[in-house]
Symmetry: C2
Subunit: 319 residues, 2 copies
Amino acid sequence: MPHKVGFADICNAHQRIAPHVHRTPVLTCSSLDKRLGAGVFFKCENFQKTGSFKIRGASNALLSLTKEEKNRGVITHSSGNHAQALAHAARSEGIKATIIMPSNSTPVKMQAVAGYGADIRSCDPGQESREAVCREVQQETGSVFISPYNDNRIIAGQGTAALELASDMPDLDMLLVPVGGGGLLAGSALAAKGVNTDIKVIGTEPETANDAYQSFRKGKIIPVTRPDTVADGLRTSLGILTFAVISEQADDIITVSEEAIILAMRYVWERMKIIIEPSSAVPVAALMSGNINVRNKQIGVVLSGGNVNLDQLPWMQHV
Amino acid sequence: MPHKVGFADICNAHQRIAPHVHRTPVLTCSSLDKRLGAGVFFKCENFQKTGSFKIRGASNALLSLTKEEKNRGVITHSSGNHAQALAHAARSEGIKATIIMPSNSTPVKMQAVAGYGADIRSCDPGQESREAVCREVQQETGSVFISPYNDNRIIAGQGTAALELASDMPDLDMLLVPVGGGGLLAGSALAAKGVNTDIKVIGTEPETANDAYQSFRKGKIIPVTRPDTVADGLRTSLGILTFAVISEQADDIITVSEEAIILAMRYVWERMKIIIEPSSAVPVAALMSGNINVRNKQIGVVLSGGNVNLDQLPWMQHV
């Protein structure tokens, strides 16, 4: 029976990756606090290396490999932040990385991955094609597959952001994080409750990609069929490992509309003067929705990343 | 003969305003450091109250008023950051503020000023109309005029950002700040050299609004006639008081192109994930231009503000 991921794994991951990632700052926003009557503490993973928290899981996974596995190289499929993170972490460790990227990936992301020295292979868009090409190349090269989320080493690594936040702010009542494949939510729930058993951990998800919301309520994985959300980091569905942790550890999952995501993203840009990607705006939208009782509470939020196409901002698409 | 503003005034201003403004963080950018072969330390006044350093001077000026002057209220003309700063500082002190704003000011800035409870009076665009309406209303109301830059209390207040930066980073070789009316440059030069006499202080200015560059070289004020720059905070010309300090204290003034400003602004957004306005990008553009010898140097930069119209970004105007 495989080892079940727990708080100790997150603490070990933190020890392992600390020299390789930034300890990101915690920021506040007085106008939001005033509006909510609460204290909100933002863990700024948009300032993290490669622009998102994904470097935490990728670094932990790579640093956990045996020497023999490192020599074989690593492979993954991703159009987004995991691709950049794995490519960056692999370069730091001198490991060969192959990234399967859908042909419709944005050029700037492909350039970033190539810039980190990874070998990019193109595939047709769509989960099936990605996985098929990945398996094929993996068999050809013998590389070790590193899942974007469905891997205990990834879950443990992603939990280190919440570990730092809960250590910096020990009086949090609640922690909100976005949920896509579930690596961040699973790791964050284990980390936060490891520091403080009373903290409520809530996953936040776009209404139009609400597989985690449905899966959490029905007690089984309900994959999302046609995710159509501006939050491009949250279009994936939960995996077996992330679902297992989330159903046990998370207190709730709530959803927000596309309009609320875009408004929250713009609010953070205007008030906090920091760049967050739409996925990061999902927990902020949940806070601003009025659907959570936040009054007089201390609330942590993980701002998961800041990788945005500056030529195409979501509030401009409808002009 | 009026008191000449000096380092002691900046230290006094800092004592006075510290409870009323943020001590803003100092950030770095590893990709820029690598590119330049230097260490650059960004003083983030974009995170300051009201989104710019202007609250420092405005607070210092208002806190320096006599009780009788406070009762009379204050007045200024500004379409931008000084308007918001003065309105905010006046509200905090319970002082009535009247702001003369050109009729073509952006609605979002007028809303912000109105939101701080200031009385807005509209005027025709252009420096002459602004000043004429301001004098008229001042005579009618007896309010105290607070210049955006040509006032020793303002100069002393603006210098407190550089004072904090030079205290946090005592080994700076060089300090770069944008120059418009010159309050920030004058105050920064006095502050930085007060902490460390060897530091070089350089003003940076758009080529298309190069009055400070010309005035510095010719030894007399040469006002800019048709400033046409994306850096909307730097369209004003030096005043008598700011020019006097700058000619004595600044080491150089260098100019940058519009294209370089926009590229530098976008670079900071993409790499640092923070929102800066075009004026803040001017010293960054100067660093990236290759026209300053920065190799192996420790360089301070004041990012003056982050108030941007998110519906109209400069790299989109030419699409």
